[in-house]
């Protein structure tokens, strides 16, 4: 093969691999990303039921009802509420009045069926999405640093 031919092979090979990777990425980005909303954004957005979503907010005080391993609770951002049902173990840091992020599917009834619940809290940490949403609502109480 000539020098030019070899170089062309190399460039063509590189393009093919990178093109394939880019194609895969676009395909994956179309199907595998999950949007994050707060309850009030969700109320405004008119999201079709059946969509996979991630919802962040606070666990409303007094809303947690446990029945065996089935748990129902309300996620709130102090403007809108969303009823969430979940079956399984709650994380260690899950507590009423604390930040929570739930992954799951919006039901036709308007309630939310979670398949995973993430809770993170301590004095210095709160899911940033939740903190942002609460700041926007003007109900942020934590330190801003």
């Amino acid at each position: 093969m000539t020098r030019k031919g070899k170089r062309l092979t190399l460039i063509a090979g590189a393009m093919a691999v990178l093109g394939l990777a880019a194609g895969l990425m676009l395909f994956a980005l179309r199907d595998n990303i999950v949007f994050f909303y707060t309850p009030s954004e969700l109320a405004k957005k008119q999201v079709a039921s059946g969509a996979r979503l991630r919802i962040g907010g606070l666990v409303k005080e007094g809303s947690v009802v446990k029945n065996g391993r089935d748990v129902n609770f309300t996620v709130t951002d102090k403007t809108s509420d969303l009823t969430v049902s979940y079956t399984g173990l709650l994380p260690d840091l899950f507590r009423e009045g604390q930040g929570v992020v739930v992954d799951g599917v919006l039901q036709p009834s308007g309630a939310f069926r979670a398949d995973s619940v993430l809770a993170k809290h301590d004095e210095r940490y709160m899911p940033r999405d939740v903190a942002d949403a609460l700041k926007k609502q003007g109900v942020w109480q934590g330190e801003t640093k």
């Binding site: 990303i33 994050f36 173990l89 994380p91 940033r128």
Partner: protein, 655 residues
């Protein structure tokens, strides 16, 4: 007083770093050897001053000096001694100080182990290392001072985040930083080579051991971190595609690519521009990771308190170094002599393909990590990109890469014979197919796990069979003498590739795991894979700075108890935080993993039970990879400062 000494030492280190940057750089331009030689002692002294400063902070933590904000916020007088030491880097300020400590350590290493290179290359490299040190020291002193005092001092501290109170944390960050920051050495040498304009095979020989060194540390650091997440987070997951984890994976992939392209440059004087680019890229990705973690732009358990000033400062450092290096690259790369081209079917051809596939993997991780940030900045929409995205993209790239690894090993330099290489791998192919069938028969679907496991076994056998074939030589019978005569780096490659195979097998086996979430009644047993697990007792216990409820669980097989595990739920008083302590027992290569949740009045306990076959291979594979790397590093021919014994056969111009 000790604390003030530490603070002052940090300021002195900044002054030294600036001297280390300016004097040798000017010296190299003026060709003044005396000025250039300032670099080495300054680098070593700078390290000593940073170490002194770090020691002072550690001292403050150990004696629980609550007049320091850093100690108040992250320590507690009752905290066990080991966490008083590891707590130093369990927070933003301390971990930045550790970062700089490692950075200056790397500078000192260059200064000590750089006899076999020109004064000019060494002093330019140390100058860049000095500039890096100065930038980060300034960052610490201006935005993240760990020595800030408070008056009056409180009686008690707020304790370290309980999730971080774990032996794993004692090892994970230092190792990770050694890897992450270790790439700064390669970065400095790349910048020095671009400044000096001399880039040849000798340069590749200089950077290869440093790349290996950083790569080994990063491999171990990532593996350690993933095992730590696995047993402390209580979900049984070992990798979450959290941006902070990705931050360590990106330089690892770039570093792996660099290891392979540097081999081509060293042996064949080709891929020069690309190798330089990767050297810059690996550390740039480390810097990007530091920015992501330290600026608080992320939603992540790793983001301690976030502060916009810090973010802007790190972003400025990032732009200065990455932008500066790339500008230098753009300016000089065109003037570099073009290296040889080569036949597509050859060792170097295979290594180019390896680099292409690794680059694609690296780009995927970068996109998956930055896309949500970019989208949010541009449109305000918040999305999460998780495992489904990465699996969809990475699996179709990584599996072919794994298939190609042993083939590349079998091809010779310059002009390889693909058919002969495939023929030599026939044993590996057959073993791989048989293994896939056996795994399929034992564990069943998912299909992807079966295929990946087959490829993994092929990779292990194929990686090692290179050694057997080379030991056989032309006589056809493997001879021990010939095997022992092989260079260590040949063992290194084979073993590292086999380690990758083991990790892949462990990953494949995650598809066969069993998860069961149950409310466990006392004395009844629950099936988890081939085992049965039951609670024998639940009782409270008091730890040094926490109280816990722990369950004693028996693991049975065929009616006989083979192990007991003690998962616990701990409550840390100082932070009023709870965390799980998983109960884990290793059976064969798999693990039974249990985490408990709430206990109820009727004696039932909510629990998460897992059987994870072959899961330990994920980390064992990483250890094997690191061991392979260490063997290569020990190879005399590659050791720093050892001149080449015999001149390589004169390089023919590659057509």
């Amino acid at each position: 007083m000790i604390v003030e000494t530490g603070h002052y030492a940090l300021v002195l280190a900044l002054a030294l770093a600036l001297a280390q940057f300016a004097i040798p750089l000017i010296g190299a331009r003026l060709n003044d050897v005396a000025l250039m030689r300032v670099a080495r002692p300054t680098a070593i002294t700078q390290f000593l001053f940073v170490a002194l400063s770090y020691g002072a902070l550690t001292y403050a933590h150990v004696v629980s000096d609550f007049s320091l904000v850093n100690v108040i916020e992250n320590s507690h007088s009752l905290k066990p001694f080991i966490y008083k030491i590891s707590g130093v880097w369990g927070n933003h300020e301390g971990s930045m100080l550790l970062w700089v400590l490692v950075l200056s350590f790397c500078g000192a290493l260059i200064a000590i182990f750089s006899n076999a290179m020109s004064d000019r290359l060494r002093s330019d490299a140390l100058a860049i290392q000095g500039l890096l040190g100065a930038a980060f020291l300034l960052f610490i002193l201006l935005t993240s001072n760990p020595f800030a005092r408070v008056a009056p001092a409180p009686w008690e501290g707020r304790d370290l985040n309980p999730i971080l109170q774990d032996p794993g944390l004692a090892i994970h960050p230092p190792l990770l930083y050694l890897g992450y920051v270790g790439f700064s050495i390669v970065f400095s040498f790349a910048a020095a080579a671009l400044i000096g304009g001399r880039i040849d095979a000798a340069w590749a020989r200089v950077i290869r051991p440093w790349t290996l060194f950083a790569w080994i540390a990063l491999t171990l650091g990532i593996a350690m971190g993933s095992y730590w997440a696995y047993y402390t987070l209580g979900w049984g997951g070992f990798w979450f595609w959290d941006p902070v984890e990705n931050a360590s994976l990106m330089p690892w992939i770039a570093g792996t690519a660099l290891l392979h392209s540097a081999a081509v440059m060293e042996k064949r004087e080709a891929l020069k521009v690309w190798t330089i680019f990767l050297s810059i890229l690996a550390f740039s990705l480390s810097l990007l990771g530091t920015f992501l973690v330290r600026s608080g732009v992320l939603t992540s358990v790793h983001a301690f308190a976030s502060d916009p000033d810090r973010g802007v400062f790190i972003l400025a450092i990032l732009v200065l170094f990455i932008g500066g290096a790339l500008a230098l690259f753009a300016l000089r790369a065109g003037a570099l002599p073009v290296g040889g081209l080569f036949a597509p079917i050859s060792r170097e051809g295979a290594l180019v393909l390896n680099n292409l596939l690794l680059s694609a993997c690296c780009a995927t991780v970068v996109v998956g990590t930055l896309y949500p940030l970019a989208l949010e900045a541009l449109t305000g929409e918040k999305i999460s990109v998780g495992a489904p995205f990465f699996n969809t993209v990475l699996i179709p790239i990584a599996l072919p890469l794994a298939l190609l690894m042993p083939i590349g090993q079998m091809l010779s330099w310059k002009r390889g014979d693909l058919l002969a290489a495939l023929q030599r791998l026939r044993v590996a192919f057959v073993v791989g197919v048989v293994a896939a069938a056996a795994f399929g028969a034992q564990y069943g679907t998912p299909f992807l796990s079966i295929i990946a496991a087959g490829i993994a076994i092929y990779l292990v056998v194929g990686g090692l069979s290179d050694l057997v074939i080379r030991a056989r030589g032309s006589s056809g019978r493997p001879s021990f003498k010939r095997l022992a005569g092989l260079p260590l780096s040949a063992f290194g490659t084979s073993i590292a590739h086999a380690g990758m195979g083991l990790t892949l097998l462990g990953l494949a086996a995650t598809g066969w795991g069993v998860e069961s979430i149950v409310a466990m009644k006392p004395l009844s047993f629950y099936d988890v894979g081939p085992y049965q697990i039951g609670i024998e007792s639940v009782s409270p216990r008091q730890g040094p700075n926490y109280s816990e409820v722990y369950a004693v669980m028996a693991v049975r097989k065929d009616g006989a108890t083979i192990a007991t595990i003690e998962p616990a739920k701990r409550f840390y008083q100082a932070r009023r935080m709870a965390r799980s302590e998983a109960g884990i027992v290793t059976l064969g290569l798999g693990q039974v993993y249990a985490a408990i949740g709430e206990s109820h009045e009727d004696g039932t306990v909510d629990a998460r039970l897992y059987w994870k076959p072959l899961v330990t291979l994920i980390w064992i594979g990483a250890l094997v990879m690191a061991f392979g790397g260490a063997l290569s590093l020990a190879d005399r021919r590659l050791r720093i400062g050892v001149p080449r014994r015999a001149a390589a056969p004169a390089l023919e111009p590659a057509e």
